[in-house]
């Protein structure tokens, strides 16, 4: 039996971008890099990306916002969690070009301008981290969850943070951290200006 390797002679059944553009009134971008402006943590940032690039890769490689991590790269593990227009999202499932004109909030915003969002110290206090690679995603998921559920029960925390995975086994600390942060937020500690998105 003769096999063929990963790159050999792939046959495209799709129209080329040029053909697609000719058939449609929709403006076609790429395949080469195109200029984009992304509003990250309230700040417009310009870069050039290929249209196929995910928001996650753009944040990490082009904009040096490396808090969001690339782990599964297909919307399963939550390590790349960001908040886009108040919605918790996996940055690996969004194309960067589609994120233009939207408010993109990353983990870096939680400790910007000398203000610290209470979810961050809550994770430290409760040792809700070991290697820490899943942690920024968890922190952002927790922030998005608390934005919508300011007074959660323990059971709701377990449901609400179900979209993130950890390999070191920090879940017990995460549960406690989210409840502690909720309490701190209700007390109003340190939230002002923490979110500049």
């Amino acid at each position: 039996m003769q096999g063929v390797g990963a790159g050999a002679g792939a046959v495209s059944v799709l129209a080329t971008p040029e053909e697609a553009a000719a058939q449609s009134s929709v403006k076609s971008l790429g395949p080469a890099a195109v200029p984009v402006t992304l509003t990250v943590n309230g700040k417009p940032m310009k870069t050039a990306i290929e249209p196929r690039e995910t928001l996650l890769d753009t944040l990490r490689s082009k904009l040096d916002h490396t808090g969001a991590k690339r782990v599964c790269d297909r919307g399963t593990c939550g390590a790349c969690t960001v908040i886009v227009d108040s919605k918790v999202q996996y940055a690996c499932t969004i194309l960067a070009i589609d994120a233009q004109g939207k408010q993109i909030q990353t983990i870096e915003s939680l400790t910007a301008n000398g203000k610290v969002h209470p979810i961050v110290p809550a994770f430290v206090n409760n040792d809700a981290q070991q290697c820490g690679y899943c942690t920024p995603g968890f922190v952002m998921a927790a922030k998005g969850f608390l934005d919508k559920n300011p007074n959660p029960t323990y059971e709701q925390v377990k449901d609400g943070l179900g979209g993130n995975l950890c390999r070191c086994g920090t879940y017990v600390g995460v549960r406690k951290a989210v409840l502690e942060a909720a309490k701190a937020l209700r007390g109003g500690a340190g939230v002002k200006g923490a979110s500049n998105a």
């Binding site: 003769q2 790159g7 297909r74 983990i107 939680l110 110290p121 070991q130 690679y133 995975l165 879940y171």
Partner: protein, 716 residues
Amino acid sequence: MPNYSWPPMNERKVMGKPHSRLDGFAKSSGRAKYPSDVNREGMLFGAILTSPHAHCTIQSINTSEAEKMPGVSAIRVTAPAGTEIQWAGAEIAWVAADTEQHAIDAMRAIQVQYRALPHFVSEERKSQAGTRAKPAGEQTTGDVDEALKAADAVAEGYYAIPVLAHSCLEPHGQVIEWKGDRMEYWPSSQAVSTVAGDLAQQLKIPASQIHVSMDYMGGGFGSKFPSDIWGAECARLSKDSGGKAVKLFLDRATELTIAGVRPSAYANIKVGGKKDGAITVWQSESWATGGFTGGGMPPIPYIYTGIPNRRLNHAAISVNAGGARAWRAPNHQQACFLTFAAIEDFAAKIHMDPAEVLVKNLGFTARAPLYERQIRLAQEMAEWKKLWHPRGDSGKSHIKRGLGIAMSTWGGAGHPSECRVKINPDGSVELEQGTQDLGVGTRTVVAMVAAETLGLTVPDIKVKIGDNSYPVSGPSGGSTTVGGVSSSTRKAAVHALEELFQKVAPSLKADPANLEAVGGKIQVKGDPSKSIGWKAACQKLGVSSISATGKNDPKNPMGLNTQGAGGVQIADVSVDTETGVVKMNRVVAVADCGLVINPKTAESQVLGGVIMNICGALMEERVMDETLGRVLNADMEFYKLSGIKDIGEIVVHMDVHPDNDKRGVIGLGEPAAISTIAAISNAVANAIGVRVPRVPLSPDHVLTALYGKNMERSRA
């Protein structure tokens, strides 16, 4: 000879008190820079072409099209025509390009013709393994046949625990940049002080040319010791691209396919003994794979090594799949599951409480009094008397609750380690060590030891680790780190303090040997009225800092660290006999430990060990496609890790008391990560009345055990 002994338990000011990890804020704020976060000016990205076939030869490989692709700066072939490939995912060629997309495009444009060859990937089917099964030779003690005949009861069972993937969240890989003949190397590694030497050997260059930096790393679990072929090829791609930095990390599918697995284990086991619970005989026929080179026998019977009549047969099965790497407590989970499931089945056969069978036979273990104390404590914490019931006697509801118990053993002595402590004239203290913090809290622990020794607080100590220009410290494996780094730090700090005492003694009109460092002061022992503040004391150094080193020598740890940790865990589960879903209610973990430096991170280690093995018990399994010979679930949707809701409640008891404290520091990352799988399997058997022979305890495997669907006693 200075006195290095740990301060008495009740006199410690810093050690033994919970302390938040020093890098907690950096991690929780996303500011911590992992190797995969390193971005360099003009950095290139690497991509790897891997084999789609489990067994094949490379007929031809043509990179000419790929070389013309946009942005490509270097292409290398490591499996040229004629190479025989032994597993899917094996590396064939390497590309560096200006963007990651361009690197992947070029990788896909490399044309390879393969000749596929027959493969074998299903080691559970030992009877089909043919010459790929290598018997290890029988080990016999006593008279097994006679003991089996004489036994009041013999429990016979088939047990299977699969290959798992380490599934580190930060994949294996590195960034490498050449500056002239010097190389900057940012690996995701468990071995800051040794990985440069390993890479230098591959590249045939002096190790002194390689500078390693690694402040953080995203999980290793035993799989990240070597520099690997991707380290060497990343360095070569960088060199071929004029020294520009190259970032090369495995994608998720490749990570799960070739970056390390835990070996499987399968066994037909007989355990026999008397009606009163005394075990007299063990017979096992086991087999395992860890990849192309097969898999060794787990240490069975586990812990109960003194069973008088034993016959062990084992075969290593070679498969065409990515190879094994060390796994948090190598082979112990498998041994623990095989042993404690079989003993539990014997207990059920003679209608005895399995905890009593374990206690009855403790004479066959090396630590009978310790284990008995731990078993009783765990039983109390798990409400064993109230909740345990004879196997299967769990009521009429389709939700069945059960308890299961298992034990662990581990070494955990400190590895070779050197530490440098600097005391500066301005009073600042620096601690340098070529170690790494895998997330276990190493940074925090060494700062606590230094602060305790110098009479300071943790924030007074500036910890510098993760760099191979610092004093050499061992790789983090086998739970050896905390013992090693704490002992070397203690010694270095004692040495530095002695030098400071020499400088300060005249002003206090005291003998240097009669000084102590307490509460931010240097004072005459027991006389706080004759003291000098830390900063004032350090000013007496003039312009020269003190720089003192200390070493942990594993051959003579001087009482600072030791090995030998037992542990007992009890799992409490509910099983839905209609859906086969196992729900965790609770795990109780009694963790043996020596001296605990930071209770906060120590408890996290135990929790992590338990949680990792809840995944292993209920969800994880590498699934091979027998036809294609490829990993079917090389992603995170179907290679399942448990989530925050899946783990139930976990109750940890750190066995801190003076008798244990006297032993010195003992590593505990691994002992905590051993017995959960066996305990959960036993709890499920207790709940539903039959053994589910296969881990993971997925709905499929539970229902098969309950209703006999496609059930075969053994596939061997």
